[in-house]
Symmetry: C2
Subunit: 393 residues, 2 copies
Amino acid sequence: MDFSTEEYAERLAATRRRMAEQGLSALLIADPANINYLTGYNAWSFYTPQILFVPAVGDMIFFAREMDARPGFRTSWLPLENIIGYPERYIHRPHIHPFDWVSFMLRERAVIAPAASGYIGLEMDAHFLSPKGYRAFVNAIPEWDFVDCFELVNWVRLIKSPAEIELMRKAAVVASAAMSVALDTIRVGARQCDVVAAVSQAQIAGTPDVGGDYPAIVPMMPTGEASDAPHLTWTEDRFEAGQAVVLELAGAYKRYHTPLARSVILGEPSEELVRVSSAADEGINAVMDAIQPGVPIRELVRIWNSVLWAHGLEKPSRLGYSIGLGYPPDWGERTVSIRSEDDTVLEENMTFHLIGGMWMKGYGYELSEPFRVSATGVEPFTSFPRRLTQIRS
Amino acid sequence: MDFSTEEYAERLAATRRRMAEQGLSALLIADPANINYLTGYNAWSFYTPQILFVPAVGDMIFFAREMDARPGFRTSWLPLENIIGYPERYIHRPHIHPFDWVSFMLRERAVIAPAASGYIGLEMDAHFLSPKGYRAFVNAIPEWDFVDCFELVNWVRLIKSPAEIELMRKAAVVASAAMSVALDTIRVGARQCDVVAAVSQAQIAGTPDVGGDYPAIVPMMPTGEASDAPHLTWTEDRFEAGQAVVLELAGAYKRYHTPLARSVILGEPSEELVRVSSAADEGINAVMDAIQPGVPIRELVRIWNSVLWAHGLEKPSRLGYSIGLGYPPDWGERTVSIRSEDDTVLEENMTFHLIGGMWMKGYGYELSEPFRVSATGVEPFTSFPRRLTQIRS
């Protein structure tokens, strides 16, 4: 296991404290990152339904497809008898769903503490809980009152342990190595796919000491006029003189992520790109300088906005989000967003991806910093220069 | 665009024919592969909610996050006014959902043909439609009757066009190149992550003529005793003498996939592995020999089972599935499964991943073939030898 028995026990205890606060007798967890967080289970099995039952009292039970459940002990510390496989015949059938079967088993085996409220929390906005799966539970267990748990386990994950921080530092080493490869290979005439192939190689090989894991998102690399579209990937086209390139990637280690974004101009930047990139760089630096425990997220946004406004610019999208454990399609934790609507106040060992992403018309610029809130300030996870990289051919 | 205007028009027409058969006035499509299939739209934006409205009559409307919608014209042929961005403030908020806003816009703009039934099809088991998103529609548009469309567009995708087949052949070239790299680098003493790094490099670089896209699933490589767990990825451990290695990967080209699996033994195989691998190889060969238009899927399963039974073995999991366009977390189309419960009869230009995966206790074996049903038989997409690869150190 990647963490001590005590750390897993504390994760479950913290989850149950929050369950008590929200009045929940049990949780049904579908998010693969939350399942991993509580049980260690790790496989690319989330394309078929799987669910973790977390009662307020008693043992957790994990349900997965038979071929994934039987060897589940290879990554999870759960005892064998608490990893249950549903039959293969429930896969991809129009009129039955694996959670029909799981519901039956839950009624047989699940113990809901009699003193509890009876509310059962579901992850109503998780990526891998479908409406069909949700309705299977609601229809098959009418005596349970299902409510949204509002990303309960995601919120438990917000403040990282020292062991988690250590994994994120290693992920950052991988992210830096991969970004270096990118900046060394983006050249006029090179194929976009060849650059990303080299980046992916660096992400997965890692270093001699730190073997890379797969990031939850592939490298995104909008290029040229399309650099205004942040979530484009790559093509087989060749880089052309004058193009701007935006690259966002992550290093991953044992499913922990440290994302990093930088931008490149192949030749001379336009006046507009100089203006936008300078403002973003200055804004990110100003925000980084302000980070310490006790500072509200909202204050970071105010600082960023004041820098941008001084340059006559604004950014409609959020300035970043909490990061850590993740599976495709997202390395964000879906809890704290760095935006004015967020009420969070920074605490030590929160970890974020701070993103100065400027999505203009026909061009874009992105510069980001992954960081940890330290006891007295900020620990940036990487030390990449905070500026537009100019590559002359 | 990767396909002609006529091909996109025919895709929409085929979708509407099936909608008429199922009595649907409109569809709401969340599956990124289905959105791509109908509109060309392609970005790693599916980690936030997005949805395509497909009315029986009138224009399709695509809704995505503002930063993804505005540059949507860079990959989609939809006219600008039919790609609508929802405001950033709806992202990751506990009490509001982007589909609240989308529902409002749909009531303003969507035209439901008066003669139609009024039923609106939802993809109730799609990966990227959450229960919260589903309930947003149901609550906000009470005058619409939502029903499951049962993977309607996925079923339209089942028979490939010549242009699609051409992309899959190119993906197969990439898959073969990546598998060759794996077999050349899996060696006692090599780190698992270094092998997968080289494989990923080959998948994304592709060949000088065919630049690789990202596969919907990363390489899976259960190793040693853990080779009984088909969906494990890799570790930073080094390969050891005597270990079995199961590798399943895909080549991808413009989002079309050709998966391929082979197994390796580092040294001498056990008697059990020889028995299981011989049976699986023989079974796959027998099935491949039987493929032609008019043959029921069920007959392929019968042939496979009869070979396995002759060896005293059985396989509880399905023997494969339909393949083509795909996004994480799955390159399968979620329509036809090769299993006895399936009623499909083979037709020309159906494409499948045929998988002889044997998940035993403490070891596993997998050998697969991606294929197209041709006019008179079968076109295997790759020509890799169908056997266990033995690597002596």
